[in-house]
Symmetry: C2
Subunit: 235 residues, 2 copies
């Protein structure tokens, strides 16, 4: 396999990062789309760079300039999705943290809905024992972009608890959101109506959850969970 | 690829299901172990039956008599683990549902602990978009064996609510248990100490959860969640 071509003296354009010219952007999008389609059809682990290049009708060397690994494709997927999500979630209204959390959760499902089949096929990459999984250091930038939305849903709420509790609650809600996404990806019911039901039930239960946080044990339990969550997955 | 050899007239031993003679049991165990090792090393999706046979030093035809697919290996894994779990969980003491649930949860982690690396490598098969995933019809027998332990932890408790609520609570606790297992498999902290912390926090929070179930909204919310859980994953 050939590595990326080095820029030669007097040919500065060759040295530009791939995908910054109009044609480069187009090539990059084509290679990305081809790779994702192959991951869905053949499985992430079973797909090779060689197969992606062949399918896209380019040399392995060219593919390698844009995506030196399958991992690079997954990182681009994370980046695109988390960007689209952060942009949509910026429309969050002021108010209490319960409705703000629900908005963040529903918006995530809406942004990801067109990609449901792709994401279900990519569960091995998202949750597998690998460097491109959802909690790996290499994917932290995209993950934090989404996590921040859930933290700000609480810290920016009209009924926000103290700063530290609010941030911890936001992280727990981010984790709950990931749980809902996994449920949704595995949901066997027609049109995933069981996920719609789950969201409605969560909405019903939020006032009780807010109440539980006011109990004497509420804050210490949350602080403990947040500590372990950060140790286990987020840091 | 050759199919299983048909028994010839006058040679009844050839017709026995593979793995029932002493030598068959040994061969089956060897092939199973080889397959699992390859799944861990190369990834589940990327491993082929041909590679398993080569590694085990047998013909593809012989492997096929025991395991006609990678899926068959995964089904055997489920069966072995759920059998071992059900046997250990049968030692559950009488008492309230909270401690009984904790016993069921801790026993699951103990039984699976020696297989943690294997299971982490098999997340693609366990949760992937495939017929051998944890919620597929083909794996239902093993899943129900484990689910039943959690249901009976509640229905057989000294403080069990009415039959239907108890069974629903058992299924929710079974799902919570799967969530804890996934957290444990992904846990990056040394010796998964964040999972130990999570279990301690769950133990602390159980009395409050039992109290929440006594609230007027408690039972209807649980019944709704149970309905959606069954629709989404369990049926």
């Amino acid at each position: 396999m050939k590595g990326p071509r080095k820029p030669a003296a007097g040919q500065p354009r060759r040295g530009r990062p791939p995908g910054t010219t109009a044609q480069g952007v187009q090539t990059r999008a084509h290679l990305y789309q081809t790779a994702i389609e192959l991951f869905v059809r053949r499985g992430y682990e079973a797909t090779t760079l060689r197969q992606i290049a062949a399918r896209a009708g380019v040399s392995v060397g060219l593919l390698y300039r844009y995506f030196p690994s399958k991992r690079a494709v997954i990182l681009e997927l994370y980046e695109r999705l988390s960007d689209a999500y952060a942009a949509r979630a910026a429309e969050m209204s002021p108010g209490r943290w319960g409705p703000r959390f629900l908005f963040a959760l529903r918006t995530s499902l809406e942004v990801l809905a067109p990609q449901r089949r792709t994401l279900a096929a990519l569960i091995p990459a998202l949750l597998g024992d690998s460097e491109e999984n959802l909690f790996a250091p290499g994917t932290a930038a995209s993950r934090r972009r989404v996590q921040r939305v859930f933290e700000e849903a609480v810290t920016g709420a009209s009924d926000a608890p103290d700063r530290e509790t609010a941030a911890g609650l936001g992280r727990m809600l981010y984790l709950a959101h990931l749980g809902v996404l996994l449920w949704w990806l595995l949901d066997k019911s027609p049109q995933q109506r069981a996920t719609t039901g789950l969201l409605a039930t969560i909405e019903h239960m939020l006032p009780a959850a807010a109440l539980a946080l006011e109990l004497p044990q509420g804050c210490p339990a949350l602080a403990a969970l947040d500590t372990f969550l950060r140790q286990a997955l987020l840091e």
